[in-house]
Symmetry: C2
Subunit: 437 residues, 2 copies
């Protein structure tokens, strides 16, 4: 490499991605994982709640039954048995044969993240527009930005994506002569906002997209984690065409096996398989066999019920703690399910600038800016309640409230210290490492 | 999608990849996997040779010992324990601390295929040039072509890549004003040619690349499968800089777990991790834990010895069968290790045109054109000997020889029927599905 630097040498993709995550944030997560810190930062499920011994026995039996094929190469689309089981899982949210769902249109992926990456590779060219809720999943933002697509955020309220805002965004983009490729949405227990698209709006959003000829990418990692209220059918359950659906076993079973999937219209499915083969040859037959065995030999819906009870208690504890401890002027969402609460700070506070002081006080969260493509969200943060037990949640919220009160009193005396460390013009460094699922 | 077809809608990457694999070839592989067909087509290792019961017990113990973390999210670079073990494996081929190899510069990937995809994402822009042996690994070709790089083949002989041909290619590309990003090479027991870069040429090729400032990507899936002759140190073992090394556990343990790795200079490693995170969040901690347990609790080098003996016997059987059965004018390579023999047909025969007739005669192979970016190789084929037992190998070669003799006699009488079905101007449809590892 004599005479050239790495940056001269690497491609444009690598130069783009360089600005997209930040070692400072990765370092922060390393700190946040210390036992003395109450971490509301990650989106990791409580795998300690799995019946580990029974899973061990299951693996032993799996090897005896079909070890040779599980350890061998498989096919790019994923194993047929698992694709059939995936259809049974999707049927729990209304996606079944009546709306045209079939194992033949399922592609198994290396977790939901690779599903998004495959979709981006199939659809996105530099300069294309993607609509996404604002805020939206940080890993999706990373994929779209790496593909050089422009993410246009659509506002949400407590009922989810606002249909009128979507219509307006479509009109604006159409006028600008750019091509909008799809709406990326997490309609149920959204990451990071925790809100859910209401029944009425589901129909309305689909209508708008169909009229505009706009594809919908529905990402649904949390749909089976409802703690109260009536289940709402997935968007994909309501229409036969126009929706690409992304699912994962990362929350219902294990993120460590890295198994997700896409349900796509047939012609798209075919392309996803080709891209999958080019990228990884085939999704792990071993991981797929493990998920298949878990679904077919274990009482997984009972386990899921156990997780729902555990997470509901933790959500309740966090909501109660926020209500009793947060300073006046703080607002937060009230999720009916999923893993996240979205907090809006009192005026003048800056969640990223405050983070080092929160870590000092032994509590961690994800600053809101990471969930926007445009640097907004400085006064917001995402709190996850699924990992710490209730007493730790209360203690963590107490620590957080105390940090916020200090910030507010310092600000009242000295002006606006919260802006220290702000990175105007470099919003990308706010993006958390994609490990923040 | 009213009014637009899928091809209007999908991005340019998807439109490119459309031409890169062919459903006809995928169908062919489905046919080739029928039990009555002797398949020399795949590159799958003999996983039935693994001690499956012991692996089952190992998995059970793994869950008891560290199930909760194996089932949880991990980090984008891969687990530290496995990266240390990978360094011990690489040390068997001379890559150790003395040449600067360190666990910190290893990135764990979803098999060797994803390693190549990550490298392509980091380095390649449309129009860049990649040098590769001609023929070369089909999965690498797919990745480079999808990245819109131009693959320039460099000729080989029985001693591997020809240094003078590499020098000439570098000069030609430099004159044309294009940027050559790296030399992609499988120096040891090459896929598909089966040849090995000689000791003297290893030093010479490194010299040429260093003088030209050309990065080397060394792909080494087969290095530990030597059946005769003296082991040669890997290219990476000879220099501290300028070589990115790709390894995999797909042949030494299991392709089904999809675990490979890259050893890269530190600054490149950092970028590979970022791209890995964007693509899959993290390599499967579960698969990684399984490989770690296999390496630390099982006599894996003894297993490897068993595989070497098994494959050597099959290679010998195939070489003997070729010598006694092939029609005059047929040539083939004599691999000292690995999984593949490269056959050059007598003048006038066309391996792809002949394939349907071979399948009818219940024998399968991969036509040579798939291993070239430029449509050459019509008179070549790749034979793999690792899966069929010796008596099936003899029978398969007998069937193949008989098909070739029929082709030659038909050709002698009627002219050139072998050209039937040829796809002039569409060399891309010759490319086998990337599942052909």
């Amino acid at each position: 490499m004599t005479g050239t630097t790495l940056d001269d040498y690497t491609g444009r993709y690598a130069q783009r991605i360089q600005g997209m995550t930040a070692s400072e944030i990765r370092a922060l997560f390393a700190v946040a994982s210390r036992p003395e810190v109450v971490s509301f930062a990650g989106g990791a499920p409580y795998t300690a709640g799995l019946p580990i011994d029974a899973v061990g026995e299951m693996l032993n039996e799996l090897m005896a039954r079909r070890g040779v094929s599980a350890l061998q190469y498989g096919i790019g689309q994923g194993e047929e048995q698992l694709r059939e089981q995936i259809c049974s899982v999707m049927a729990l949210e209304g996606i079944d044969a009546s709306c045209g769902a079939s194992p033949d249109d399922v592609v198994v992926t290396t977790g939901g993240q690779q599903a998004l990456d495959l979709i981006a590779r199939v659809f996105l060219d530099p300069g294309d527009v993607v609509f996404a809720e604002g805020p939206t999943y940080v890993g999706a933002l990373g994929v779209f930005q790496a593909a050089q697509a422009e993410v246009v955020h659509v506002a949400m309220d407590d009922q989810g994506l606002i249909p009128e805002a979507l219509e307006e965004a479509i009109t604006t983009v159409a006028r600008s002569g750019r091509q909008a490729k799809f709406l990326y949405t997490v309609p149920t227990f959204q990451n990071p906002a925790g809100v859910t698209l209401s029944e009425q709006r589901r129909e309305r959003v689909l209508e708008i997209c169909q009229r505009a000829g706009l594809l919908v990418v529905e990402d649904n990692p949390y749909g089976l984690f409802r703690y109260e209220g009536e289940p709402l059918r997935a968007l994909r359950a309501r229409v036969r065409e126009g929706v690409i659906y992304v699912g994962t076993f990362s929350k219902t079973f294990s993120p460590g096996v890295r198994v997700g999937w896409v349900l796509a219209p047939h012609a798209v499915r075919e392309k996803l398989v080709l891209v999958n083969e080019a990228q990884i040859l085939c999704p792990s037959p071993f991981s797929q066999a493990v998920v298949s065995a878990y679904l077919s030999t274990m009482p997984w819906q009972e386990h899921l019920k156990g997780f729902r009870e555990l997470y509901r208690e933790r959500r309740d504890t966090m909501l109660e703690s926020l209500a009793s401890l947060m300073p006046a002027g703080t607002r937060w969402t009230r999720p009916e399910g999923g893993l996240f609460i979205w907090v809006t700070l009192p005026p003048g506070l800056h969640s990223k600038a405050m983070l080092p002081r929160a870590i000092n006080a032994r509590v961690a969260y994800v600053p809101g800016t990471g969930f926007y493509a445009d640097g907004s969200g400085t006064d917001t943060m995402r709190l996850s309640y699924c990992l710490p037990p209730p007493e730790r949640i209360r203690e963590g919220v107490r620590r957080l409230a105390s940090v916020m009160e200090q910030e507010m009193s310092v600000r009242a005396v000295f002006g606006a210290p919260a802006e220290r460390g702000d990175t105007v013009g470099r919003p990308s460094v706010d993006t958390p490492a994609p490990g923040v699922a």
